[in-house]
């Protein structure tokens, strides 16, 4: 399919040296953005197994009322580790890894702006992940939730060292993320190929750019709070301890000042993936490019002004509640703009229902459901009813699993051929897709009902009230289906890595620059970059006379 001209020529000497270092040490000592990106993704998949296993344990415990499979302390450690793992060691790494792998390719350059800083970011992340799990061997895992509200996370309420490992590990992960965020900003702003103006950036790169700013501005709030918490725990300080004159609610302000932008850190690059996948498989350019990019910037800015909607039950007073209610609702507008632009991109298209596109379509509906239940929480009085019930669990999983993870699967089916040179099996892909849709909705749809019935979050068991047992049982069965789906996915990746159909340079006839080089790309990325005169350089190359730049630039 591809007609990308790659003229043969002699390589510069320095590049040949890089190519030769293919031993194991060379792999791990690499500063090549593609290998580092792959290591991020492998780390994320590894911890996805860990976090998924924790989810399975929780759903076994909750499968019926008054189950005694896990004791309360173990359950509390498990949900704390599940949340922390999925957020910091799965979703963020898979999104950052994809960004690190593809941003330099999509903007037509050889590597990140600071390759060593890039490697630093990964190794610090790995260190943070290992530190977090080492807590199991050092007296017990953290057990105060991924949000670790004070004073529950303080001494004397959490005496073993789990909380200290949690704080240190997130400090490491946060520091690495800030480094990577700065690196991505510098790369996107300064390393673009000639002709790749900001108005021609692929939308994935736009989303990563906004996302990186969120990381750089949000994580310092978390790091400051973590240092305060460590001071309280280790040096007997009183930042957040009510009984020493501290302010337990201050922790919540710090945490959600980080935590809400973090929610967008976990979705923006996923939106970027959707914004690449839907146009390519609809055979149309993205509808309303400028609006999709601008709405992302708007969401990025607004995300710093909504944090107290996590704190409506705290009793901050009506002025706070209503201000945060207004800003939170406002975020719905640019989010809706994106959804409608994606649908408009499909409209009048010639839609190829590949597995990647199926995941993107399911994303549209499931993410809309998560977004809409989120809007309900922006209505402060509804939040007063439903916060900290299973309605929130359903909401956040519709956003992060039905949304982000489905987009990530769309992205993996889309880019796996570029990264490995092999196409994932579409047949296994269908099995993967339908088990995920069934398992995901079975697990989380019923949780809305449990929330409205008043089942609290973070309980290790529950009384046998009418309907609670059966709904929880359905939810637990859903997790088993999800587990089967993930096994199919892993088998698909392993099998096709050896036996898959060769992908070629551009199996989807896509239009952005990463498809203008070999699959997998050589260490130097490009021998020659095609002329960039529009947002779709490869379209222009393959459609003489119908180039984008003739139409709209």
């Amino acid at each position: 399919m591809s007609t990308t001209p790659v003229p043969s020529g002699s390589m510069p000497v320095s590049i040949e040296i890089e190519v030769r270092s293919r031993d194991l040490f060379g792999f791990f000592a690499t500063v090549d953005h593609k290998r580092i990106g792959l290591m991020y993704m492998m780390l994320a998949l590894f911890f996805f197994i860990a976090g998924g296993f924790e989810a399975l344990l929780m759903r076994i415990q909750l499968a019926w009322p008054r189950n005694t499979f896990l004791n309360p302390d173990t359950y509390n450690q498990t949900f704390t580790m599940h949340g922390t793992t999925m957020i910091f060691l799965v979703v963020m790494p898979i999104l950052l890894g994809t960004a690190i792998y593809f941003v330099p390719l999509m903007i037509g350059t050889t590597d990140m702006a600071f390759p060593r800083l890039n490697a630093f970011g990964f190794w610090v992340l790995l260190f943070g992940g290992l530190l977090l799990y080492y807590s199991y061997f050092a007296g017990g895992a953290p057990d105060a939730g991924w949000f670790s509200y004070t004073p529950l996370s303080e001494k004397p309420f959490s005496l073993h060292s789990g909380m200290d490992y949690w704080a240190l590990s997130l400090l490491a992960i946060g520091t690495g993320s800030i480094a990577t965020g700065l690196n991505l900003i510098a790369t996107i702003l300064t390393m673009r190929a000639p002709g790749m103006s900001m108005r021609r950036l692929p939308l994935f790169v736009w989303m990563v750019l906004v996302n990186s700013h969120l990381i750089v501005f949000a994580f310092p709030a978390l790091n400051a709070a973590l240092v305060g918490l460590l001071f309280d725990r280790q040096l007997n300080a009183h930042f957040f301890r009510a009984f020493g004159g501290g302010q337990p609610i201050l922790w919540q302000h710090f945490f959600w000042n980080f935590g809400h932008p973090e929610v967008y850190i976990m979705i923006l690059p996923a939106w970027g993936m959707i914004s690449e996948v839907i146009p390519v498989f609809s055979r149309k350019p993205i509808f309303g490019y400028a609006y999709v990019a601008a709405s992302t910037v708007a969401i990025g800015l607004l995300s710093f002004g909504v944090w107290a909607h996590h704190m409506f039950a705290v009793g901050l007073g009506h002025p706070w509640d209503l201000a945060m209610s207004a800003t939170s609702m406002l975020i719905g507008v640019p989010t809706g703009v994106k959804i409608f632009n994606w649908i408009a991109t499909m409209w009048h298209g010639s839609i190829r229902l590949t597995t990647s596109m199926l995941f993107a379509i399911a994303f549209l509906i499931q993410f809309t459901m998560g977004g809409l239940s989120g809007i309900l929480f922006a209505f402060a009085p509804i939040d007063w009813k439903l916060t900290d019930t299973y309605f929130v669990v359903a909401h956040l999983h519709y956003v992060l699993f039905g949304g982000t993870m489905f987009a990530v699967f769309a992205g993996i089916y889309y880019w796996y051929p570029k990264m490995t040179g092999k196409l994932l099996s579409e047949r296994l892909g269908r099995w993967h897709f339908w088990t995920m849709v069934l398992g995901f909705n079975a697990t989380f749809l019923v949780q809305h009902v449990l929330g409205v019935a008043g089942m609290p979050r973070r309980v290790y068991t529950y009384p046998d009230l009418p309907g609670w047992g059966i709904l929880n049982a359905i939810s637990s069965i859903g997790v088993l289906i999800l587990g089967v789906g993930m096994l199919v996915f892993f088998w698909n990746m392993i099998y096709t890595a050896h036996h898959g159909e060769a992908a070629g340079d551009n199996p989807w006839d896509a239009w952005t620059l990463e498809w203008a080089t070999a699959s997998p790309p050589p260490p130097y990325n490009f021998l020659m970059i095609p002329p960039i005169r529009s947002r779709r350089p490869l379209w222009d190359l393959n459609h003489p006379g119908e180039e984008d730049w003739r139409q709209h630039e």
Binding site: N71, I351, F379, A453
Partner: protein, 309 residues
Amino acid sequence: MPNTAFSPVSVYGAGITHLFQIGLVMCYCILALVAVLVITATIKYRYRPGNEHAPQIHGNKWAERTWTVIPLLLLASMFSLTAITTKSSDPYVPRTHPDLIVIGHQWWWEFRYPNSGAVTSYEVHMPVGSRMATRIESDDVIHDFSVMQFGRKMDAIPGYPNYMWIDPANVGTYPGFCNEYCGDEHAWMQFRVIVQRRNDFEAWERHEASPAAMPVTDQEKYGARLFQQDSCASCHQIRGTDAKADVGPDLTHLAERKAIGSGVLTNTSEHLFAWLKNPQTIKPGVHMPDMQLNDTDTHALVAYLESLK
């Protein structure tokens, strides 16, 4: 399912439920629109003979304006409804003389009636049709006082008391939960709200404020002596006796309550016996230790506690 957010038993709660229903209708409409558009596009514009080539459309500024402005107007109207409900469902509470003080502890709720001096735990009684000015406090970590069929829930924060109105409108018994994660036994930090006619409530309150019944039988007397001597009194209060501690729940009228351990077991002799033998097997992590009691002493304590009507 009974006891959901859709069956409010308070005027404030009904106002919030009304807003919730309006919000849900809005959400269902938007979801239906998006789902229909996505599925229509998927089917209608699927690649097939005759639809190999898509027109290269880059956008339409009127379409963009439409789906920016309409949601904006919709949300602006929703915000005004939110603002009205916020005001009407959670009016200002004077900070002096609350009718009810709710105190969260790991992992039980204490209810104090300052006007009568009544103190109880697990079961909070309220007169129907009243408006209770309620102060919510915490003794340790952050908890959250939540009854799905009433109005708002409210965090119990150490050092920073919160205030809200509770307005029970229907006679009945309603489940309540701690809604803020508070440690090991967050799951068993439940309570029940018993809404009664005013006469019944006043009778209950008078009784609850009165000192404990004196032990009658020999076994009860032995149990009472054990209670005072064998450490129970270091944590629990039984009004009218020397036991005045307030680390654990007030037991003055324990026998009147339907459950023990904040809902983990019903209040029967067998369950009390099992609880006293070792509370850690029933509610792991609970701050009440295994007192290593022998069977005779345990039976005596059960007899005494069951006499506390």
